[in-house]
Amino acid sequence: MRSTDKTTEAARVMSICNACRYCEGHCAVFQAMELRLEFNSDTLDYLANLCHNCGACYHNCQYAPPHEFQLNVPAAMAELRQENYGVYAWPGFMGKLFANNGLWVSFLSIVVITLFLGGTAILTGDDFFSAHDNAFYGVISHDVLAAMFGAVGGFVLLALVVSIVKFWRTINLPGPFRLDYPRVMQGIKDALSLKYLDGGNGQGCSYPSETPSMARRWFHQMTFWGFMLCFAATSSATVLHYGFDLPAPYGYLSLPKLFGILGGLGLIVGPAGLLILKARADAAPKGKTNKGMDVSFLVLLFLTSLTGLCLMFVRDTQYVGVMLSIHLGVVMTLFLSMPYGKFVHGFYRLIALIVFAVEKNDHKQVVGVCQDKKAA
């Protein structure tokens, strides 16, 4: 079991909350907490990932600062999440990238975009500022693109899977074939509906201010489904390319285009809305040490979509080379930062919500049960 400043603070906070319990109606964190008397680091990692940082418990807390108990559950959980993302990262040493996440992602994006611009300019030479019959494939061929992103994508997938397995084991979920599937469905439903951004009664979370609001839930949904549609666009294009020998570029009434445009719009409005809300939000419940991670991820998503849509408009012009390089640079940065940035939150949260569905149903703690007890 790990013991750090973050786990110590989260355990202190949970011990006070567990003696109060006024917030039990707000979200899963408190209902999971009530099944326990003690909080080890496994339990705290689980609770931290159940927390959606909605802020309701902070604004409604009788012990919030300046009370001498200095209770700030969302901040303690946000800072602990930042730490445990690093703990579960693979390979382990890459976990350090979570410490100054905003900084390294910004730095990476500059390097990668510059490399793409420089590399493409050198390789295409005089053609860099030319229009091409086959649009962006005229700048960089499909095979090169597929090989490059395939390799990086493969590594990203591996890193994510190993991290997820680490977290899965820590919180004592059984193997995939012994899962309680109705509970799994409940967890997926709670994750997809962002149930715990509803404040407990469907009134919305206390974000960006104390007044309950649904704004964040809606912007997050746009971001998530925007991302999924963009993913569907790429997937459908892959199917068309390899399955039907129909290479890009596609017309506006094709699946990749429809998915891509719709998703792209969601991925512009969603992250932009979340960034605006974040800028307006109270600083206290956000946590201090996790600055930059959320912002850099949202900016990357926003730029991915913006540059993608721009590329669509300029693909038959002389600016295709520049735009393609920038777009690919942004997408590559997003890919590379996936296992080492905010992107991972979705997986951990989904798993935590599934475990919570099991715990709630059985009214028994699953996470944090010590090993000898498990054996017995």
Binding site: S15, I16, N18, A19, C20, R21, Y22, C23, E24, G25, H26, Q31, E34, L37, A56, C57, H59, N60, C61, Q62, Y63, A64, P65, P66, H67, E68, F69, G199, G200, N201, Q203, E210, T211, P212, K360, H363
Partner: protein, 462 residues
């Protein structure tokens, strides 16, 4: 502090539930209202910040409440705890008007908590605020703001000008504000140790104040000095035995220690002094503050063994733990030989029976000076745990007498035409002694609405 105007239709002192509701009702009736909250914004709302529920009478399900809680049952509950120390007219009016409390609050943005699977035992009688009393406060402050109520924080009333029972003006520091009508909703005096000492003597120095540190009773004292008729006795208060390590002020709910009925309680002399198993803890916790206050140094220790672990709400501070009773006594500063004898005598007196904490199981001790009448299990399963207990004062009952219109009554038998009182400052009219979960918020809610309505009607000549 500077107010926008020197004169208002209705001036409210106190920004807890009662004062806020009075201000909102008056503003909804078209009055120009100013509310003065003595605490800073972060600690606004008096004891409401520490509350969790109110207790509405209802026939059939009401919002988050199940079943029926009718007047007869409610009245019986109130009589049981107050032992008749109540004003029946005001009390029955409070019960009847409590029914509308939930709808009234919900219509103004307050959220109630739907019952969670089996975790709440009060789903029929008590409506819980989602997130607690601070959520109610936040919603009502937002609503008051929308209605144009002028709210000032750090605005403790320092003097009041009352002439022949009529409110003229008040001062906050050197700023004077006048109004046609005045609502006094500034709470009790539990945070005023000097005042508590007048009733309790020097032992009040050892009390912990669970409620807000801003309830110093200054306004209550001013009203009494200006000729208001006093109701209730100065030593009546909601006194719970709480963890002795709790903060001096403002510890709130989490300082509770809920394992008394599962163990034994000894005083500084390592001797038991009261039946720990007299009744279910929710029906008994409110007498233990007083019991501990009567012990030397106003301190006691509850001792349980391993069998009781996990069978009660986890306390906020960790227990002192030891493998033997003697070692435990040393750790908590009691005489080991005496505590060992107390525990041995108690263990020897335990009669056989089937322990069941969910009912009055009758498992008792026999032959002791102080017997335990339920849940008496031997303490023989180490490690042993101890929690220190002290009296924790949540709120006081001494207040000003009011009429059915929440009008303040004067000692000379007249009633003030334009001073209205609501909340803890007048709760003693209904709750003369004892305690019933959620009754304080119910009184504040009902009288807040009455005071706001009557104050606005008076101020606007209706």
């Amino acid at each position: 502090m500077k107010t926008e105007s020197d004169h208002y239709d209705v001036l409210v002192a106190g920004g807890g539930q009662a004062g806020l509701i009075a201000a909102i009702v008056a503003a909804e009736k078209g009055a120009r209202v100013c509310l003065l909250e003595g605490a800073p914004r972060t600690h606004r709302g008096g004891n409401t910040r520490h509350t969790r529920n109110l207790r509405p009478m209802h026939i059939g399900p009401l919002s988050v409440l199940s079943g029926t809680y009718d007047e007869a049952e409610y009245w019986d509950d109130l009589m049981r705890v107050t032992k008749g120390k109540t004003n029946e007219t005001l009390a029955r009016m409070t019960l009847r008007q409590s029914t509308e409390a939930v709808d009234w609050l919900e219509a103004r943005g307050v959220q109630f908590q739907p019952p969670l699977g089996g975790t709440l035992h009060l789903g029929r009688t008590n409506a819980f605020f989602m997130g607690g009393g601070k959520q109610l406060l936040n919603a009502l402050y937002r609503h008051a703001d929308k209605l144009g109520v002028e709210v000032h924080y750090d605005a403790m009333v320092t003097s009041v000008e009352i002439s022949e029972g009529r409110f003229k003006s008040l001062q906050v520091g050197d700023h004077t504000i006048s109004a046609n009508a005045f609502v006094a909703a500034a709470g009790g005096f539990e945070a005023n140790i000097e005042w508590l000492k007048e009733a309790w003597g020097d032992i009040a120095e050892n009390f912990l104040i669970r409620g807000t540190p801003y309830n110093r009773g200054d306004l209550l004292r001013m009203l009494l000095d200006a000729g208001a008729r006093q109701i209730g006795e100065p030593n009546q208060c909601h006194a719970v035995a709480i963890d002795g390590r709790a903060p001096k002020f403002d510890g709130g709910i989490c300082t509770r220690v809920d394992c008394v009925s599962l163990g034994i309680v000894v005083n500084r002399n390592a001797e038991r002094f009261y039946d720990e198993g007299e009744d279910f803890w929710p029906k008994r916790y409110a007498i233990w503050g007083r019991l501990v206050a009567d012990q030397p140094d106003q301190v006691a220790h509850v001792i349980i063994d391993q069998k009781a672990r996990g069978a009660f709400m986890p306390p906020v501070f960790p227990a002192v733990v030891a493998d033997t009773i003697g070692e435990l006594a040393q750790k908590i500063g009691l005489d080991p030989a005496t505590l060992e004898k107390t525990v041995a005598d108690y263990n020897a007196a335990v009669q056989p029976g089937k322990f069941d904490h969910t009912e009055l199981d009758g498992v008792h001790t026999s032959g002791l000076v102080v017997n335990k009448t339920n849940w008496a299990r031997t303490l023989d399963h180490p490690p042993y745990s101890a929690y220190c207990l002290r009296p924790g004062i949540t709120f006081t009952y001494l207040g000003v007498e009011v009429s059915e219109k929440a009008q303040m009554q004067m000692a000379d038998g007249t009633e003030s035409p334009n001073i209205f009182a609501a909340g803890e400052i007048m709760a003693g009219n209904v709750l003369g002694q004892g305690y019933l979960a959620g009754i304080g918020m119910t009184i504040g809610n009902v009288f807040g609405r009455i005071a706001g309505r009557e104050a606005a009607d008076y101020a606007l000549n209706r």
